[in-house]
């Protein structure tokens, strides 16, 4: 075990996987110097052949991942901010998500697309989106959203070894230091984790919202409400079983998600609960999400828009 924050944990996963498999290559804008810290030191260690600084050209970056993967490599395409998934979206939606299927399964596409998501930094609307709802609607790709240093490491190693395009999306800040396993630590894609057990209500949280959900559950405990907190970790495939079993136990469900609400992971989870746990539900399923808005710059406005602990607590109290 080592104590580390999220960006160093990501860095260690990249080093271990690139050491293990020569076919793993990584590229991105300023991947060498590393704007956000995930790729610090990789170019010095693995050389400029395997770790490349690209021009600013997201459409080619996302597309060439598909070509390189089809030709036998395991590319990691670093897109910096989640909003630049949009600039590279054509190849993601039209090639990465479909080429295997369209060609009758001739290829596998072991790609990792990575980016940071979410607001809270006064970076304004074009650097603060949480764009996974659009990705979840493509089919043909997996989406993982680690919430901590430990899950960041375990899921990245799994994503790199997966034979499908995997979107690997984390918060932009490194979060709290925590114990991260040093050995070959893998978290399976598609498996949620129950962070706190409880019988009164289930709170499913995603990525940067997980910490807030845990905080909310601590506050709720003080007033006698025992919430079960689920860290979803993977959005696609989604761990329906863990969600449904919990809802069957608690009879109530709140989903906390930093993406905009319409056609979101949160609304999808609500649909799953309506479909598969309807008879267990004692109250409406509630979503604590972002309204259909762009993320504003001024911190007091941003605080209005992004879910906080109070929103979660209040939503739960409305139900119980």
């Amino acid at each position: 075990m080592s104590r580390m924050r999220m960006m160093p944990a990501i860095n260690s996963a990249l080093i271990e996987e690139m050491d293990r498999d020569k076919k793993v290559i990584l590229y991105g804008e300023d991947a060498g110097i590393s704007l956000l810290g995930q790729t610090t030191g990789l170019q010095e260690r693995f050389g400029k052949d395997r770790v490349r600084d690209t021009p600013i050209c997201e459409n080619i970056m996302t597309g060439m991942a598909v070509g390189a993967a089809a030709a036998g490599y395991r590319p990691i395409c670093h897109l910096l901010y989640g909003n630049f998934i949009y600039t590279g979206f054509d190849s993601i939606a039209n090639q990465a998500a479909k080429l295997k299927y369209m060609t009758g399964g001739q290829i596998t596409l072991p790609i990792v697309y990575m980016a940071v998501i979410g607001g809270g930094r006064s970076a304004a609307a074009q650097h603060s989106d949480t764009p996974y709802p659009a990705l979840m609607n493509l089919g043909g790709i997996k989406v993982v959203v680690p919430s901590s240093a430990r899950s960041a490491k375990g899921l990245l190693k799994a994503a790199i070894r997966d034979d499908n395009p995997v979107f690997y999306l984390t918060a932009g800040s490194s979060g709290k230091p925590e114990e991260v396993p040093d050995d070959d630590f893998i978290l399976p894609i598609g498996k949620a984790e129950i962070l706190r057990e409880g019988n009164d209500i289930t709170i499913v949280a995603i990525g940067p919202m997980v910490l807030k959900a845990v905080e909310a559950s601590l506050a709720l405990e003080k007033i006698g409400i025992h919430a079960e907190v689920i860290d979803l970790l993977s959005l696609l495939p989604i761990d329906e079983e863990t969600i449904i079993n919990s809802v069957k136990k608690t009879g109530r469900l709140v989903i906390v998600d930093e993406a905009r609400d319409v056609c979101s992971a949160a609304s999808h989870i609500a649909a799953i609960a309506a479909d598969k746990a309807f008879n267990s539900l004692k109250s409406p399923v509630k979503r604590v999400t972002v309204d259909n808005l762009a993320i504003p710059y001024s911190p007091i406005l941003e605080d209005q828009v992004i879910p906080n602990v109070e929103n979660i607590v209040n939503t739960v109290r409305e139900l119980i």
Binding site: D30, L35, G37, N83, H127, P296, Y297, S298, I300, E302
Partner: protein
């Protein structure tokens, strides 16, 4: 196309030249304030400063009116001010206040004033390209001889959208001016490491006339701008200007709070800060050499601009924060 050397600044009055100098000085001093205020944590968010590139925006915008359009980049304060944007509301925007030009919703990377033809700074590299093309299309349909200018960086020149923009603007003879500000860096990477060939040459196969200028030479940049704007106003189609310059500051202020190593030599930076390279100092020298300003006048101008900046900062600091409900309006009409 060559820069027309005969078309000097001779036809500009002394007062006009001083006005232009003041505009460059205003941009410089606003940015210097923002640099030091960043370190004090005086406002939220990050700033990308225009210091060292002032001659480009000011000389180009001198040929434009409020009816013309510009689109800009993440490094957009200079373009905003040069095109006539109000400094007080720009500063208030960066401070995240209700009185900001975007009511505190956009911040540094989105300062815009559509009434003045400023389609705004932009957080997406290459994002201004489509906006400028669209405004040029509207201008060509209006037939009022309006023009549209897209300012973009050397880094943005590697986005595929530039090719699409060059093709369609040339094909449709749009009144568009491409201004590539080659400041030698794309974030923390030298342009040479991510760019093949010469950027200005990319326009040639599209039949777009090109001008390559020393963007730190105000006069040269002013002349090139005059030619390009004239062509656009006369319905002769787009012109592509590559202006060579240097990004004196980091990509973003305070970047060594997160970067793990340096990426350029201080010697290189110092070279570009010198009298013979810095665009503001060079223009100042030109005005000196032509006896348009003297030490006394320069001091007075500096004091004047200092007080403009000071006023904008106190306007920003003393302005109220946005009303909380404003987070939820403006999303759709």
């Amino acid at each position: 196309m060559n820069v027309n050397k005969h078309n000097t600044l001779d036809n500009l009055s002394d007062e006009k030249l001083v006005e232009l100098y003041k505009k460059m000085l205003l941009i410089r001093k606003c940015e210097e304030h923002l640099s030091s205020a960043t370190k004090e944590g005086a406002f939220p968010g990050a700033v990308h400063l225009y210091i060292g590139q002032e001659a480009i925006a000011v000389s180009m915008c001198d040929h434009l009116t409020e009816d013309d359009w510009i689109s800009s980049t993440h490094r957009g304060h200079g373009h905003f001010i040069a095109k006539g944007g109000d400094v007080n509301t720009m500063m208030a925007e960066i401070y995240g206040k209700a009185t900001g030009i975007c009511n505190g919703k956009g911040g540094s990377m989105h300062v815009a004033d559509f009434k003045k033809g400023i389609m705004g700074a932009n957080g997406v590299v290459g994002g201004g390209m489509g906006l400028a093309i669209g405004a040029a299309l509207a201008a060509s349909m209006d037939k009022k001889n309006k023009v549209s200018v897209v300012f973009f960086g050397d880094g943005a020149a590697n986005q595929g959208v530039l090719m699409e923009a060059m093709n369609i603007s040339s094909l449709w003879k749009l009144p568009l001016i491409f201004v590539c500000e080659n400041n030698q860096y794309s974030e923390f990477t030298h342009t040479s490491e991510v760019t093949s060939g010469k950027i200005v040459d990319r326009a040639k196969p599209f039949g777009i006339p090109t001008l390559e200028v020393d963007g730190n030479n105000f006069i040269e940049m002013w002349q090139a701008s005059a030619q390009a704007v004239l062509r656009a106003r006369n319905n002769q189609g787009p012109t592509f200007i590559e202006a060579h310059t240097y990004r004196q500051r980091g990509h973003v202020e305070f970047e060594y709070s997160f970067l793990s190593r340096t990426y350029r030599d201080q010697d290189e930076v110092n070279k570009w800060l010198a009298n013979d390279k810095d665009p503001l100092l060079r223009f100042e020298q030109y005005l000196f050499d032509n006896s348009i300003i003297d030490n006394q006048k320069t001091e007075a101008l500096n004091n004047e601009i200092d007080s403009v900046v000071k006023e904008s900062v106190s306007f920003a600091v003393n302005s109220p924060l946005p009303d909380l409900s404003s987070a939820f309006n403006n999303m759709i009409a």
